[in-house]
Amino acid sequence: MTDPILEFDGVSKRFGGVRALQGVSFAVPGGEVHALVGENGSGKSTLIRICGGVFPPDEGTIRFEGREVSFADPLASRAAGISVVHQEIPICPDLTAAQNVLLGHALPKWGGLIDWGKVNRRAEAVFAQLGVDIRPSALAGDLPIAQRQLIAIAQALSHQATLLILDEPTSALSKQEAERLFAIIRGLKARGLTIIYVSHRLEEVFGLADRVSALRDGHYVGTVSREETTPDEVVRMMVGREITHLFPKEEHATGDVLLSVRGLSAPGAFEDVSFDLHGGEVLGLVGLQGSGTSEVLRALGGQYPHLTGEIILQGEPVQPASATDAIRRRIAYVPADRQGEGLFASMSVRENAGLLLLSRLAAALGWVPNRSLDEVAGEMVRRFQIRAASLTVPVSSLSGGNQQKVVIARSLSIEPLVILLDDPTRGIDVGAKAEVHQILNGMTRQGRGVLLVSSELPEVLAMSDRVLAMYGGRVVAELPRGAHHEAVMQLITGVHAA
């Protein structure tokens, strides 16, 4: 093992009553890709924020390149040679791509004034190094989420760093974009940089990392070298128990046709989409970013008022014109962007869970007795094993996985015929994922129809009864259960037309 570039010694951090890190001690050898894994809330991002100078640890010390360091702010950490891509910190939407990339740099000036032309050219060079095609003068807020994530990565790469830390950089990236990032990471490693890499996707971890360290509930569990370990062992380190198989699909007989879609088009999003969804069936939609999979879900959820084509629900033609409309027709939508579109952060668990049942619980004048709301919310919390200190704590105090379960439970509370799930396991850990998959199995057992979109191809392939492959807004193939990963990849990347 080479000399450690970064050493943690007894690092602890608490937020109010939450002990995010407790006495974490380990070392990261220089010149390697070092993966950091752990369940949601295990403290990975907290450790990284400490390295990035966002806040200091409560206890313990950090040594960087052999010297004890204590960063007062992000600038100090960067000056020392640490560059960080933080988890889920979107860029500045009102600035251009180039301005975001060079945020925090001294900018090229001409006569005391910033030369934006030069800034754009510099950013262009960074993008070229990253192999991405983003116009430097594009407004960042106008770009799709994947490109925004790439801008954040480009921002980190634009600094001269000896240690690069990436906290879940691929959660919003397509397969190819992720692959390109991996190539860059390998290139940086070859140039002698050390990379700390955080991800919930074990195949990425095993594809990239030289060594894997695991955290559990704020404690350091151990470090293993990739050659000497297996995915199962890493999972065991993370969750402290065995997870037998990753995607536990239950088989059911599927029922009659529930939902028929014929020639559905939304200009600029997708075109001529047709399929049948049966009761008790999971129909997977796979495709790259921009292929129209999420948009089909949104359209069925009533978010595209100007659709052409037919939607027939239980033999009756429908045109969901709004989310309200879709909900009335018992079509439930679970958005991919939990924070932005799913949760009411300032409200309690109870209110988040019970929101769709208010009109059902309401007596005259909209009066909702507290007890009946407590009852239904409590039942949901119990049934979906939502771990919360009480029903009245703010939902924002829950872990990511539990927040997601609240959102799903709410959608299911209307007893939907059809459930539209957009990336229901984004950014949640293996344990929580397994629970969401259990919920999915429960839905089909009850005879509901599920349309599933996921950023993880293996997940859709494993959990679906059938799969529709989409490319460029069109359905290019229908595949039965058990379709081969490679074949699907070729379809959705347009390498082979069906």
Partner: protein
């Protein structure tokens, strides 16, 4: 693998049985339910200030002074109740002061110059306020421009209209039951206090225990999520704007009944006082979280400080300056002391 199956095949209802809840047993008292940590901090602050004033000037605690303060705070508390809904839904109304003046003037002119019955005039004034609130709400939600600007424009428009109307002098009106109901006494208590308490209590119940109240909070907490949850966010906001305008008209009517006179500039500046009361009480200016009890306490604090400073005597011109300091201090306190449970 989790042990419990969330979908036992037999049950089809997702919201079925009434299982015993682990936290259902955690009984809280009524007061505890009404007064959260933030409200508590501001209540303590308010009591300490009252005590300090009362010690320096015992006349502060006379029944008549306490009742007078109760009456004085009524208008701000009533407008503040509606504003709490609106601000929780993440909108602002800067036009309440103008609507207050306009509607009381309208009412007075209709009654005095057109000979319309005062009650009927009140109804017309409330309808006019409804229309103004609708315009505020529709321009904000359909026109998609910030309510700060819409209601700022409305502030000028309505004040201009009031100034034009005031060209017609208002004759004196005969006293009748109208004044008894809106400005009289009940068992020695000014009716304004009773109106205020009724509105604050009903407002609290609507805010915390009805579909509409939950919808308001959800809309302000995350508008996109609210829309996706099927909440008619535009309608919710428009209703809040209407409530705000109608509460201003009603406060104007109380003022008119009490002072038996009107002026086109009545209510000028009230918009900021109302927002101050709401925010002092602990409602977030950024939406999603509100408390009507807090607003009530905020209005009480402003009134007590104003009254107390007069009682203490001293430099009259510095009194408003003190008030400014108290506003900042109060918000600092509940932000940092009554942080979270």
């Amino acid at each position: 693998m989790s042990a419990t199956d969330p979908f036992p095949a037999e049950t089809s209802s997702a919201a079925g049985g009434a299982a015993a809840l682990p936290w259902g047993s955690r009984a809280r008292g009524t007061v505890g339910q009404l007064v959260g940590a933030r409200e508590f901090a501001i209540l303590v602050f308010l009591l300490l200030i009252s005590l300090a004033i009362g010690i320096a000037r015992p006349t502060f605690f006379t029944t008549s002074n306490l009742l007078a303060m109760g009456r004085q705070m009524a208008e701000i508390a009533i407008m503040g109740t509606a504003a709490t809904f609106l601000i929780t839904a993440r909108e602002l109304d800067l036009s309440v002061g103008s609507i207050y003046g306009f509607c009381s003037l309208l009412m007075a002119l209709l009654a005095a110059n057109q000979g319309i019955d005062l009650w009927f005039a009140l109804i017309i004034a409330l309808l006019a306020a409804t229309a103004l609130g609708l315009v505020n709400g529709l321009v904000t939600t359909v026109g998609r421009i910030p309510s700060f600007i819409v209601t700022l424009g409305m502030l000028y428009i309505v004040r201009g209209a009031a100034l034009v109307m005031s060209a017609y002098p208002v004759a004196r009106l005969p006293h009748d039951t109208f004044y008894e109901v809106l400005a009289g006494d009940l068992f020695g208590i000014p009716v304004q206090i009773i109106w205020m308490l009724a509105i604050v209590i009903v407002g609290t119940l609507v805010f915390r225990r009805t579909t509409f109240g939950y919808w308001v909070q959800a809309t302000g907490s995350n508008e996109t999520a609210a829309r996706l949850a099927g909440i008619p966010v535009r309608r919710v906001k428009v209703i809040c704007f209407v409530l705000s305008a109608v509460s201003a008209a009603f406060a104007g009517a109380l003022s008119f009944a009490h002072l038996t006179s009107v002026s086109p500039t009545a209510g000028a500046g009230d918009e900021l006082t109302v927002i101050a009361a709401v925010v002092i009480g602990g409602t977030s200016l950024f939406g999603g979280h509100g408390t009507i009890i807090g607003t009530f306490l905020g209005a009480a604090l402003l009134t007590i400080v104003r009254n107390g400073l007069v009682q203490l005597g001293g430099e009259g011109r510095l009194q408003e300056a003190f008030l400014g300091g108290i506003i900042i201090l109060a918000v600092l306190i509940h932000t940092h002391v009554g942080r979270r449970r």
